[in-house]
């Protein structure tokens, strides 16, 4: 067990290093963008004097490394500073929206992961059957369409024609849970259609990959039922790649939902980052980016650890 703790420690340390490098890149990248917040707010007609004064007020006149260190110091304490655009606390601004994004991602994950795994296992079990082909065609078509297209199709069917679900996913902090789920179902469904194919195909491929192994033949020769061969003998050995794909897709659900949030006008983090980039509201963009990077690192770390735990060779050395 100590070995695993050590491993987790190492991975965590590397994760932190990655985050730090990411923060540097983000900071530098934004720095190289033409124009700044002062210009954006005051507009084309601003005089150099007023620009200089405004920059001084915002702290933009400081050299880059001073601002970076100041920002990093604050971020370490959980204080991302204030939004330059509206002077609100960034942590407060992001907090609610991040919770919203997580909620949508979790909802989509709860729907998509079991569906993908079940479809994948069944496709492996009945491979090359009509069912297998249908599942492949359907999931691959759904991943081939752009997200906004799927979103509008779903809205067209479920909101406009059938009038079952709302087309706007407008939630606030005091929306009760059930209503929240109900409102978020269409965006969650859109995301599900986007991510299922990847996870399902990987599940299917990983299991089929193993079916030629001697131990699978052995299970057949022991007279085991087909379902047991797949679930008990193949699946546990196929978990590592499956877990990794699930983790990547979960990360996508949190980080890559910008378009879906925009289509459904969902108050999530994706929309915030788009708005802030437009406004050159650097502190907000930096904070959002850092949170996204952190999400990736954390999910991949979890996937690594789960892969190790499901592999007895790693867990119980000789």
């Amino acid at each position: 067990m100590g070995k695993i703790l050590k491993l987790i420690g190492q991975r965590l340390a590397i994760g932190l290093l990655v985050l730090w490098i990411v923060s540097l890149i983000i900071f530098a990248g934004l720095e190289f963008l033409p124009g700044d917040l002062a210009q954006e707010i005051l507009g084309q007609s601003a005089t150099p004097e007023s620009l200089a004064a405004f920059r001084k007020e915002l702290g933009l006149d400081q050299p880059m490394h001073t601002r970076y260190l100041g920002w990093l110091g604050g971020a370490l304490k959980g204080d991302f500073g204030v939004s330059l655009a509206n002077q609100r606390e960034i942590s407060e601004l992001i907090g609610i929206r991040f919770a919203n994004t997580i909620f949508l991602a979790v909802l989509a994950a709860i729907i998509s992961v079991p569906i993908a795994l079940t479809l994948g296992i069944l496709a492996a079990l009945y491979r090359n059957s009509l069912y297998d082909r249908m599942v492949n065609i359907l999931t691959l078509s759904s991943i081939s369409f752009p997200e906004f297209f799927i979103a509008y199709i779903l809205i067209y069917i479920f909101s406009v024609n059938l009038d079952i679900f709302p087309s706007l996913a407008n939630v606030s902090a005091d929306t009760p849970l059930w209503e929240r789920i109900y409102t978020c179902l269409l965006p969650a469904l859109t995301l599900t259609l986007v991510v299922v194919a990847h996870m399902m195909r990987m599940t299917r491929a990983s299991i089929i990959n193993l079916l030629a192994s001697p131990y699978i033949e052995m299970a057949n020769l022991k007279g085991m039922k087909k379902a047991r061969v797949i679930l008990y003998h193949a699946l546990p050995n196929a978990l590592a790649p499956i877990i990794n794909v699930v983790a990547i897709n979960l990360a996508y659900l949190i980080v890559g939902v910008v378009i879906v949030e925009v289509v459904f006008v969902y108050p999530g983090l994706g929309q915030l980052i788009v708005d802030s980039v437009q406004k050159r509201d650097m502190p907000v963009v930096q904070a959002c980016s850092l949170i996204f990077a952190g999400t990736y690192v954390l999910l991949n770390l979890t996937a690594d650890i789960l892969s190790i735990i499901t592999n007895p060779r790693m867990l119980y050395p000789k």
């Binding site: 030629a212 192994s213 001697p214 131990y215 033949e217 052995m218 299970a219 057949n220 020769l221 022991k222 007279g223 085991m224 039922k225 047991r228 008990y232 003998h233 546990p236 050995n237 499901t310 592999n311 007895p312 060779r313 119980y316 000789k318």
Partner: protein, 551 residues
């Protein structure tokens, strides 16, 4: 165990006119062509033949099972009076594991790495509803004890990777016994094991077959092994029965030419006398310690290899044979000690050696399949070292490639444009030899070069190596675990155990008494064609242990 001693001669398995087809490129090719097999209760049938003879396919067919890409196209398989081919899939499945069980060649690959041994043992009885989980577990521990596995109470709770190959093979035998089947198919159960482990597993299998009066089909390519195990032997070739007879009769009086040629394989002996020793050894390994990371593998290894000599390094898997080769080639720089070539110290890391130093030591590997680039034609495979080491180009290079192909007895016009995939196993190994020769070395390291080949093919390779040695006065370092090969080809022998050299000397001195204790064990573990060999050896060992206990 001869047929005469059996009183219970009830017919258990009767296969008539069995035909099996395999699919290659959408064409169905017959791989078993009308084979008959009969087996009585409590009897052991040996199926013997080279790879591709259809032994395993017939063994699996006795369970009514055809591997993916194969189908049973004709014939009857009566097991206990029922034709397995008439049964529904579900009914056939219900017999597997209960009435007929299977022991695979590689237990390490055939145990599921994700589950503990006891879980896999109990799976058959529990899933088939023969036993409850508690009963099955208790039975498992009982069987592990009877098969003399170490710590039988706890070994089941380990994962396959935590248990050694020999123990896994026993655990697999135990698993096959879990429902006390009427018939067990043993598919090369000891081929992947060291001789010292093999003898234990053989004894185990023989004992349990006797204890439970189980019938067995024992599949192998090793005649000496089958001689110990079987009541009767069926010789197969190209999916057809060549000959069948009771074991003693088959051994003493084989009828068919093919059978006789199989029997004669082990007669090859190196022809030439050893050359005079040159004052400076070609290669010298001096006080070498080596390790993989923190795991020490070699301890204070010293030996010399002289020009024109074949030095065989023998030992069990994990004894450090191949590691010694890696040190000489510079793939694994030693922790201590040095490697000399013609009296000159070689840089420990191959990256620091000159092209000429690299050229002088070449390697031939066990798996010719993986040692050849499947996307390169033979012309390029042999041509590359010619260009790389000797700077040959154009016509000169082409001529040399043809010359080399002639040396390894492959017709240049026929082979030069082929890919490795279009060659047989033996031809691939010949190609590897040609590639090594292309560099014009004086010293070649052969790492288990004949282990993956059938006996007849292996013999051809040994003859070729022997001829080349005489023509080119090459030195070989011949790594092997097969003592028959050592007897055939070696001039000097080095015996290794756990990373140390326990004995070295001329073949005669190592192979004749007095032996080092371990050499003795190794030598006495090699099965002989005599069907009484196993009993005799066990008897001798028992005496020895009584004697040493008495002292």
């Amino acid at each position: 165990m001869t047929t005469e001693e059996k009183t219970d001669s009830e017919l258990l398995l009767e296969i008539k006119g069995l035909r099996i087809e395999g699919q290659t490129d959408d064409v169905w090719v017959q791989i078993v062509k009308g084979v008959d097999v009969t087996l009585n209760r409590g009897e052991i049938l040996g199926l013997i033949g080279e790879s591709g003879a259809g032994k395993s396919t017939i063994g699996l067919a006795a369970m009514g099972y055809a591997q993916p890409g194969c189908r049973i196209s004709a014939g009857e398989i009566f097991f206990d009076g029922v034709d397995l081919r008439d049964l529904r899939h579900r009914e056939r499945r219900a017999m597997r594991g209960i009435k007929i069980a299977y022991v695979a060649q590689s237990a390490a690959a055939s145990f599921n790495p994700a589950h503990k041994l006891i879980d896999q043992f109990s799976e058959t009885p529990v899933q088939h509803g023969v036993n409850t989980r508690e009963e099955a577990d208790a039975d498992g521990i009982d069987l592990f004890t009877r098969l003399q596995m170490p710590n039988p109470d706890t070994i089941g709770f380990r994962y396959p990777h935590q248990v050694s190959g020999g123990q896994l093979q026993r655990a697999m035998t135990a698993m096959a016994l879990s429902c006390r089947p009427d018939l067990i198919i043993f598919d090369e159960p000891t081929t992947a094991l060291d001789v010292t482990t093999q003898i234990e597993v053989l004894v185990t299998i023989r004992d349990i077959v006797e204890q439970f009066n189980t019938a067995a089909i024992y599949i192998t390519h090793d005649l000496a092994v089958v001689a110990q195990m079987a009541d009767k032997i069926t010789v197969l070739r190209y999916g057809e029965v060549v000959e069948e007879a009771a074991t003693r009769l088959m051994l003493s009086d084989p009828q068919e030419n093919y059978t006789k040629s199989l029997w004669a394989v082990r007669s090859f002996r190196k022809t030439a006398d050893v050359p005079d020793l040159e004052p400076v050894p070609l290669c010298k390994v001096e006080n070498v310690d080596a390790a993989y990371g923190d795991v020490p593998v070699l301890h204070d290894i010293t030996f010399e290899i002289h020009k024109g000599y074949t030095v065989a390094i023998v030992g069990e898997s994990g004894s450090g044979k191949s590691t010694a080769a890696r040190v000489i080639t510079g793939l694994l720089p030693p922790k201590q000690g040095q490697v000399f070539y013609k009296g000159e110290a070689l840089p420990p890391d191959y990256r620091r050696r000159t092209k000429d130093q690299l050229r002088q030591v070449q390697m031939i590997y066990q798996m010719a399949d993986t040692a050849l680039n499947p996307r390169q034609r033979i012309r390029d495979i042999i041509g590359r070292p010619l260009t790389f080491y000797l700077g040959m180009k154009g016509k000169k290079k082409e001529a040399r490639i043809r010359e080399l192909l002639n040396m390894i007895e492959l017709e240049p016009n026929d082979f030069i444009g082929r890919f490795p995939g279009e060659l047989s196993g033996g031809q691939k190994q010949r190609l590897c030899i040609a590639r090594a020769l292309a560099a014009e070395p004086e010293f070649i390291i052969c790492d288990e070069v004949t282990s993956a080949l059938d006996q007849l093919v292996a013999e051809g390779i040994l003859r070729l190596l022997d001829r080349l040695q005489q023509e080119l006065s090459l030195a070989y370092m011949f790594i092997t675990h097969d003592l028959a090969t050592v007897r055939a080809i070696a001039d000097r022998v080095i015996v290794m155990l756990q990373g140390k050299i326990v004995e070295q000397g001329s073949k005669l001195s190592v192979f004749s008494p007095p032996h080092h204790e371990y050499t003795e064990l190794l030598l006495s573990s090699v099965p002989e064609m005599d069907p009484d060999w196993l009993d005799r050896t066990l008897e001798e060992r028992k005496h020895l242990s009584i004697k040493s206990a008495g002292q």
